[in-house]
């Protein structure tokens, strides 16, 4: 928290924004549109939240806006320790003891200062602030006043504004902002600058220009697009890299930074800044090295071609890229594969021939009668679920959109259907090293050798605990994956992801000859989104069960669990890859939900489940699915 800035300024007049925009044009790179919106929002009395990744110029923008509008700014750094008292203020205990609760004994917090003096309150990292502290802000935002106990009502000067900043992608130590707060603020999203903008910023800050800046900025941007990187570097990365590379060049007497110098600088600047995707085997250093080498190779190639300076042009992909089989796709690659596989769309006439209820559910182009679908669900759950899946692939763009939204709801509901009242399999167990729970007198006495325990270490406490379990759902999408088969997969996915809420770490993998990880363990991807993914998966030719099981083992290995189980929804008739019975390592139990009644299929499924230490169950429709899952693994 900084000291309050001096004297509040009057409400800015009409000349405010234009002057401000002049300053923005000279002081800030890019962000002109956002600055305009911010300036207008402030002059028209709105509160604003700036959302964007770090290093995109939120603070710089705010500082310029605040200076130009002539208002003081009170800064508050948001973190988990920011209590309501630290924002509002508190009665000084010493003063209260001396002279009781009097206004003089109240130590004003930044919120009160900003409100009384009509200043800007700048709250950084809003999503790190505890909810009860944020709730204090609600009345200040909505009514322009707050009530402080024993101090009374404090009205805000008309000039008071709250500007909050947050990085919505930051997942550690952050909380979700409630709708009540969002509803009272305008939101301005700020993204990374374009390449030219980042170069300008880097040049301005480092005073360097040319090759080094170009390489550093390209490297920074490449970290954001790299398939194995979850959070890339902000523009601060390139700035640091330029500084360090220049310094190293001086130290090592290099005219033009060589690969080693560039690599040292790049590792120092980027390896700590980037965050890799879950489960990536490589280290940040390896990723940074790979990107730098790629950039240097492109640079060398461009120089060999005597191309004019500038970013190296993308080169030809080259021949010989045969489609590889047996791939495991995760994260962005899985998303891209889903987008690609979801291409084939169904015309209304096809839908009409395939589903008797189509005309009732979609009476015209772009129309989806939800009530009609609900009625159909009551009458014929499987038919309705199959229709919904096919609607989600309609050529009709509007119908497809509505069907996907509805499907996310319907399948989550179907997936919930089998949930029993009891949750999981909790037992009373000894809780070593935890100070809560009930005393187990017998065992305590036993441990203390019959007498009274002499230290806390000898106390044995017991409490409720569920075994930690991890579950991987394997969805077979080979062959004719249409209508009902998709519906069963979507229901199963919803059911399993819902179980994640009960403390079971769940992941979902769709497979044919490749495996797509739709939801890795520990992911927060909600059931509705996973259902949408399942709906996007299209039929493919061959079935590689062994690959699926190996993928499950690998995913489950990432979860912290005592028991690792896989549930396979498939006809269990592999057409590619090795013997599935030989690919069961790393999975404690493999259960099978058989989708086909053919003798071969039942036999293969039963054998697989038996060898995997699990059970086999045949499912014939969506209505049975959730119950079957509950029966097999007791999770839903």
């Amino acid at each position: 928290m900084s000291d309050p800035a001096p004297a509040p300024a009057p409400e800015p007049d009409g000349s405010g924004p234009p002057r401000l925009l002049e300053r923005i044009a000279t002081d800030i790179v890019g962000l002109r549109r956002q600055a305009e919106v911010l300036a207008v929002a402030l002059t028209s009395g709105r509160h604003v939240v700036l959302e964007g990744p770090p290093g995109t110029g939120k603070s710089t923008l705010l500082r310029v806006v605040a200076e130009e509008t002539g208002r003081g700014v009170v800064f508050v750094e948001g973190n988990a320790e920011l209590t309501p008292a630290r924002v509002v203020g508190y009665h000084d205990p010493a003063a209260v003891l001396q002279s009781g609760y009097r206004p003089e004994s109240f130590v004003e917090g930044p919120l009160l200062t900003a409100m009384r003096q009509g200043m800007l309150l700048y709250l950084e990292e809003m999503n790190r602030v505890p909810e009860e502290t944020l709730n204090v802000l609600i009345t200040a935002l909505a009514e322009g006043e707050i009530h402080v106990s024993r101090l009374g009502r404090v009205r805000a000067d008309p000039g008071f504004r709250l500007i909050a900043a947050m990085n919505p992608f930051d997942a550690v130590g952050t909380a979700r902002i409630g709708q009540a707060i969002y509803d009272r603020m305008c939101r301005i999203a700020i993204g990374y600058q374009d390449e030219a903008g980042e170069r300008t910023i880097t040049e301005r800050v480092t005073g360097d220009r040319g090759r080094l800046v170009r390489l550093a900025v390209a490297l920074g941007r490449a970290t954001r697009d790299h398939p194995e990187v979850r959070t890339g570097a902000s523009v601060r990365g390139p700035i640091d890299m330029v500084h360090i590379a220049r310094g190293l060049c001086g130290l090592r007497g290099e005219e033009r930074a060589g690969r080693d110098t560039l690599l040292d600088a790049a590792l120092a600047a980027f390896s700590g800044r980037i965050r890799l995707e879950e489960g990536v085997d490589r280290t940040p250093e390896e990723v940074v090295t790979e990107i730098l080498d790629r950039l240097l190779a492109a640079e060398a190639e461009a120089e060999a071609d005597e191309e004019p300076s500038g970013a190296p042009p993308p080169r030809g992909r080259g021949a010989g890229q045969a489609p590889s089989h047996g791939r495991v796709l995760e994260g962005r690659d899985a998303r891209a594969a889903l987008r690609e596989s979801g291409r084939r769309t169904l015309a209304r006439r096809e839908l009409e021939t395939a589903h008797a209820g189509f005309a009732e559910v979609s009476p015209g182009v772009g129309r989806l009668d939800e009530a009609a679908l609900e009625r159909l669900l009551d009458r014929d759950p499987d038919g309705a679920a199959a229709l919904l899946c096919d609607l989600a692939a309609a050529t009709d763009v509007e119908l497809r959109r509505q069907a996907r939204r509805l499907a996310a709801r319907v399948f989550v509901r179907l997936g919930r259907a089998g949930r029993p009242a009891r949750r999981g399999m909790r037992r009373i167990v000894p809780l070593p090293g935890r100070p809560d729970g009930d005393l187990d007198l017998d065992r305590t006495l036993e441990r203390a050798g019959g007498g009274l325990p002499r230290s806390a270490d000898e106390l044995v406490l017991r409490g409720w605990a569920g075994p930690r379990r991890a579950l991987c759902l394997l969805l077979d999408h080979s062959g004719s994956m249409r209508g009902q088969a998709v519906a069963m997969a979507a229901t199963a996915a919803a059911a399993v992801v819902l179980a994640a809420g009960d403390g079971v770490d769940c992941c979902v993998v769709a497979f044919h000859r490749d495996a797509l990880v739709l939801r890795p363990p520990g992911s927060a991807r909600p059931p509705g989104r996973v259902v949408e993914d399942v709906l996007s998966v299209r039929a493919r030719g061959s079935t590689d069960l062994a690959l699926a099981l190996r993928t499950a083992a690998r995913q489950l290995a990432r979860a912290a669990a005592d028991e690792r189980a896989a549930v396979l929804l498939s006809d269990c008739l592999p057409t590619a890859g090795g013997d599935p019975l030989a690919a069961l390592a790393g999975i404690d139990r493999v259960h099978v939900l058989g989708t086909s009644g053919l003798d071969d299929s039942v036999r293969a499924g039963t054998a697989l489940a038996r060898r995997g230490g699990g059970r086999y169950r045949r499912v014939e429709g969506v209505a049975e699915l959730a119950a079957a899952l509950t029966d097999l693994v007791g999770v839903t």
Binding site: P313, P314, G316, R317, G318, A319, R343, R344, T345, L346, A347, R348, R349, V365, G366, A394, T395, D396, V397, L399
Partner: protein, 372 residues
């Protein structure tokens, strides 16, 4: 009734589309009125303003359109009000010598494409006391047009018209130039010069036809990238690079087919396309250039000795009534990409910006989407 339209009043290097409110006549006996939903920004309309294509002026631009039929003339039986249609920039009468022999892309009704009048010679747009033609008898840069029933193709009403619009010209022209005109076959090596609204679809066509090597030639990196995304196996910036690459790829045999779809065809690119093909290969020219200029200057002896073919192709030698629907069917099954082609949408008011972006090479295909 009144309609707002973008009109070309005069040609010249600085000529711009002027937005103007026009008077629109009701449809005649074999005509219908369309409310356009979307219109593609094709390079051919740019040729109109520059004067490369000598058309009767003033003219309402636009010949790539998809919309909804609002009113039909007394004798129209092909469509009804409410039907969704994609227009063919080539009318198809179905009875002339060309239509009846399977070359409806050469239908005699095409005679007045650049005059812009309907087949009977009438003009349905009027302003400033003058009759205005519609580009290719359509004039899709207008909120509404009256067009001949020979120009419309009814399509399923669940297709998104702002995507389907692209199959009115660029997609079948490009796709057909590979599949029909150049007769690309499995294992062929094809070189495509110019990756615009037509060239990118020539790439898609060549991929469908099973070409082993598809080399896209374009100076702009974004276009080369798009070409590779949609099926090109290689992309290069210049004709010289293409020559070198193809020589290497084919062990000196050279390419089987080359297709010229550049924005303004000149003698240089035609010669490059001629030099890049093998003995017995063919050059297919789809792009346009200044009409009076001689844009083919080749050694006739080489033509003879290597038995090469140089040919033109109108509408990719496609059959509008059949191929427009076929492209949409291929789109539906995910084999022809339309969503990826449309790189930007504009309102009619921003049409000049759209053409500026086209000149700057920013767009694969810009599309006007009407809000009316």
């Amino acid at each position: 009734m009144k309609t707002k339209a973008a009109v070309c009043w005069e040609t010249g290097p600085d000529a711009r589309w002027e937005l103007e409110e026009l008077e629109l006549d009701p449809p005649g006996e074999h005509e219908l009125r369309i409310r356009w939903v979307a219109s593609g920004l094709c390079h051919s309309d740019e040729h109109l303003t520059t004067g490369d294509l000598p058309a009767r002026l003033p003219m309402v631009g636009g010949h790539e359109g998809a919309g909804i039929v609002e009113e039909v003339g007394a004798s129209v039986t092909k469509v009804r009000p409410g039907d969704h249609v994609v227009c063919s920039f080539l009318p198809v009468c179905g009875t002339c010598r060309w239509c009846s022999t399977g070359q409806s892309n050469l239908c005699d009704l095409g005679a007045t494409l650049l005059q812009g009048s309907l087949p009977g010679g009438e003009f349905r747009f009027h302003a400033r006391g003058q009759d205005l033609g519609g580009m290719c008898m359509l004039g899709t840069f207008s909120e509404r047009s009256v067009v001949s029933e020979y120009s419309v193709v009814k399509v399923d009403d669940d297709l998104p018209l702002d995507r389907a619009v692209l199959v009115g010209c660029g997609v079948p022209t490009g796709w057909g130039s590979s599949v029909y005109a150049a007769r690309v076959g499995p294992g062929d090596t094809v070189v495509i010069y110019g990756i615009g609204g037509v060239g990118i679809n020539a790439v898609q066509g060549a991929r469908h036809a099973g070409a082993a090597n598809i080399v896209a030639v374009d100076p702009l990196p974004n276009k080369r990238e798009k070409a590779e995304e949609l099926g090109a196996t290689h992309s290069v910036a210049t004709g010289e690079e293409a020559q070198e690459l193809v020589t290497r790829l084919t062990n000196g045999v050279l390419a089987d087919r080359s297709i010229v779809t550049v924005g303004v065809v000149d003698a240089v690119v035609v010669e490059q396309a001629f030099n890049v093909i093998r003995k017995g290969g063919s050059v297919t020219i789809v792009g346009l250039g200044p009409i009076a200029e001689k844009t083919i200057q080749l050694s006739g002896t080489m033509l003879t000795l290597f038995q090469k073919t140089v040919q033109g192709s109108m509408f990719g030698s496609s059959n509008p009534m059949y191929d427009i629907r076929k492209m949409l069917e291929l789109y539906r099954v995910g084999q022809v990409k339309l969503d990826e082609l449309c790189s930007a949408t504009y309102s009619l008011d921003d049409i000049n910006q759209g053409y500026q972006d086209l000149r700057d090479g920013k767009n694969i295909r810009g599309v006007i989407v009407y809000d009316s």
